[in-house]
Symmetry: D2
Subunit: 338 residues, 4 copies
């Protein structure tokens, strides 16, 4: 079984940007890493009385652990990050409304003269054994158990062109994509823009509805086990995901149809590369076979995915079979998974 | 077993608008209707040489069968349409690109100076027994079988405010919503804007990817069995769907985030009505439990749904249990289903 | 001096749709018409206590006078409407906020869970002699005189494809474009979709800011003098305007950039036709010389214009010099103008 | 007459980001600065054969001169930059199409499967004495003189929250706003996010149409004379402009209606502060009196302004009369202006 590199940041080590920071650790490709991540509030929202706008201080929101320098990663390469496991590190999570943030309120961009919705916190019980998170209403005694479905809201690398972006932003470098597809068993492919790639992770969700409507999922600290790998000489234009059964392109843009357009043109072109299908033939196949799960409709860019089942691609292997290799490596690391 | 009212339009009886037409038939609520629908090209695209822009004549696109007058339906009521079965009426379907139509091309609204993509037709084999539709590439010998998943692209009623809309448009009256959730076993709730509601149906798809990226699904003539019911005295503000397991609100708007906003505010309000949850409590529940399947990203309005599993609503019954009643009626009609 | 055909509708004759109605009058091309129009509230909002949502009854909003049948107009032709004069018919106008309508509030499409802004009416004094409208605050004693700048919010024809649209909607048939460029001295070109064109006019504004931010201008009854002309055999794809100095294309769409795109592709193509410039050369010229006044950012479609000064087009004459001919005709009719 | 601080960067000193760089110069508030700026292509496009995608190297586009450290500027203050004069530094300028960039083409965000428009360069003669720029078509012998109207496309400060943004991006820190209102005689107000503010300027345009439709104005090197001032203790949420006659709020966002919403809510709130008008009263005044010139519809965020004439604000003085003071200082510096 592989050695595991462990990283647990202290509060002052949390990062709030992608780019603009020195690495906290240097790792070799293929290293199994166990990374502890704080929740999007930095752990400051613990009770229903902890209103985020009062206990958090902008821009210290959505902290990530990292960045990590991956040896050998050079601009033009692809960084593969295989998520081995995501385990809530607490038996509770929180969600909230937040003034002028979310899909069903006016916001800083979709600005209106209306006052914000009431700021309110909901606390969830997380039962890892039962596989549930328990919703409890604030204005009545309604409760209901929802399936536990751990995911990471935020994974990214240092952006291109010398940019530094707040961790709240999803874009070509990854970032706050907030898609439930970023779950255990998935491999994320990101562009390498700087030597070492400088990836960082955070914003664990015990679960999330499509679009993260109120802007805040069931937020919780998370123990993340992942394996980075470098795919040399192959560039990746925008974030991609691979599961055992599907290939996915991530689009982050505004308006939301542009996220659809970027993710789907990406998937059409990837399909073309993997199958030899001519472009319009691939467009047609994606049009009938594609799925398009919504990520977020609340962040500075909205995120939507374009997904195709590998079964429809005649066994084409992306990135030379990187996902299968990483899957096997993960199983070797933890035979109970994989 | 109930008597079945059958309707099969002749070519000259096809309708191209919602509103502005006399009913072709008057039916009592609870009637089992078997309706034959043409495909979106009026059956004119049969081979790969039949380019839609040449063989079809605007605005004679996307024909519907109807409208049907449902006895007793008055403005302010809700029309429930339970889809009992959807059966492709041919063993083939077609799809195509169409000049300046679709999500991955500039269009009449998203207008650019670029020439259109090549217009091209794909023909699919539909194997109802095997439950497949066969994709065949045009520029290579690539084929792949996709699951048959029949749905109706277009169902609607006469619009409010005396409007008449082309059948290509999805809006508050239903119309060309192009969502795969409109499948057999589903009940659609629509507002009644005029006496008799005047509903019509068409645009059968053997299957469709999320968003109908190229603007055209696997189009086929369809035999539709459905049951209309009138829910007196309850208004429905926008189209809603109910399956055995879920409740859904349909949003059709541009940009796509506005479709998300309208469908999700609709679902939050409906959840509030059904559960007694206070509004922000319902917002929170939908934010964590909601799903948001994409309908279309190509029509004059884009369509997205907000969905919640009934399991999370403590058994609340929408419209007084209309779906279950219709489900039972359908099973009675055809014991092999239900 | 030409005879003038006068039309003043009674309340029950006001129209609330384009399309779907019989003409109220048949006129010959070249006829000078004096048409009386009600304000967007049908005259029901006269004091600050008359809240529109209470004194108006949806969908009886934004009434127009007409439709008028123009002899000889056939589908494929262009209808030219030259605005000779616009004179407020009252010495007062009103504006208001309206629940969930306007640019700086959530709306039916940009739906949020926030309550609407307060509904409030402002009454303006119109001083035609001084050329002013007087703004008076409601919550303080602030007043200020703004220039009187009469315009028509709504002019349109029966839509194509058998559609009927509420008068509140701007689209290819014209409608509620709400652009200050629709002022006296301007010629509007519209497509003819049905025999007689069936044009109608209404929604006079004593003045309006760019975008009509709160959704309601300084609304007033208006006396409109105009001259219709038919331009045979020339189709117009979308509304266009011509003043003594400029040519303009109107784009109405959502999101607002699509209105920009449609108006500007329209102007590039029109420039190409008028000057012989190759397409990209015309694109370049419009990019440096074009202006883009905002019409409305509150109606079901948003409206923006693309404008180029005729001085930059080497004296090209649109529609065979129709504007100059109508200008001369108007001057003949009323030598004090022109 | 005041001393003038001069700055002319060498090629290797040009900056391509706001933030992330050390200042090139420290200046006292009130200093008259003469700054030389390169054009958006770094001067590399000089002939019609110099295609930007070939002679420029991403991300070295849109260079700015600076950043400059303004003594005494601290986070929470406002930086005022008064533009004294803008003088083209060459007697020629260039424009071009650029692959998948501009308003009338699909782009990286509004992604389609269509090939890009042809890349083409246009060269303009700038005649400062005559006050003209001469357009010359590439595919015919058409030429026309347009008014010289110098402006700066890009002015900004280091962003908040530790971000570093490419100079091509307009946002709350200013940046590539591309509005013709940034002309001589105007004062720009920007938030101070870091000590010294670290402002930089570039991207001179000999003129530009509204929206910069093709994505590239008449680009030229520019000699910029400006005066920085620090307004202590007053925060500015987003860029604002002041001319002798008007106040303006800048909104940069996607979709374009969000730029309208942010600029207009900003102007309503500013009006409220300056006049004591209650919020809805100010909304009403802006709705009738406001103008909304379009900046750009091509950059990563689109830009639109909300403008109100000071004449309608009863002589309210913004920022304690900063613009008038700077105007006087500029006149003192150069009595021929002012």
């Amino acid at each position: 079984m592989a050695d595991v590199v462990e990283y647990a940041p202290q509060a002052h080590q949390l990062a709030y940007t992608f780019g603009g920071r020195q690495p906290v650790l240097r790792v070799e490709p293929g290293t199994v890493m166990r990374i502890h991540t704080e929740d999007c509030f930095g752990g400051a929202v613990r009770t229903m009385g902890d209103l985020p706008s009062q206990v958090c201080r902008f821009p210290e929101l959505n902290p990530v652990s990292g960045p990590f320098y991956v040896a050998g990663a050079e601009p033009g390469d692809t960084l593969a990050l295989h998520l081995v496991s995501l385990t809530p590190a607490r038996d509770w999570g929180v969600s909230s409304t937040f003034p002028h943030f979310g899909a069903l309120t006016s916001t800083a961009q979709t600005a209106t003269l209306q006052p914000p919705l009431e700021e309110r916190v909901w606390r969830y019980d997380i039962d890892t054994a039962a596989g549930t998170v328990r919703y409890t209403a604030r204005r009545s005694d309604y409760t209901v158990d929802l399936p536990l479905a751990p995911m990471l809201g935020t994974i990214g690398v240092a952006p291109a062109a010398g940019e530094t972006r707040m961790t709240i932003v999803p874009d070509l470098h990854g970032g706050n994509m907030d898609t439930p597809e970023l779950r255990a068993g998935t491999t994320l492919y990101l562009p390498v823009n700087v030597p070492g790639a400088l990836f960082a992770v955070g914003d664990g969700h015990a679960r999330q509805g499509d679009g993260e409507a109120c802007g805040v999922a069931v937020e919780t600290a998370m123990t993340v086990v992942l394996i980075p790998e470098v795919i040399k000489g192959i560039a990746t234009p925008a974030p991609r995901l691979e599961s055992d059964t599907a290939l996915m392109c991530v689009g982050s843009a505004r308006p939301l149809e542009d996220a659809y357009r970027t993710s789907h043109t990406g998937l059409v072109r990837w399909t073309t590369e993997l199958t030899g299908l001519e472009t319009l033939d691939a467009y047609q196949l994606v049009s009938q076979a594609g799925r398009s799960p919504v990520g977020n409709v609340c962040d500075p860019n909205y995120t939507i995915l374009a997904v195709i089942d590998k079964a429809y691609l005649h066994g084409a292997a992306a990135y030379g079979g990187a996902h299968d290799r990483l899957r096997a490596l993960a199983a070797h690391h933890d035979p109970g998974r994989g």
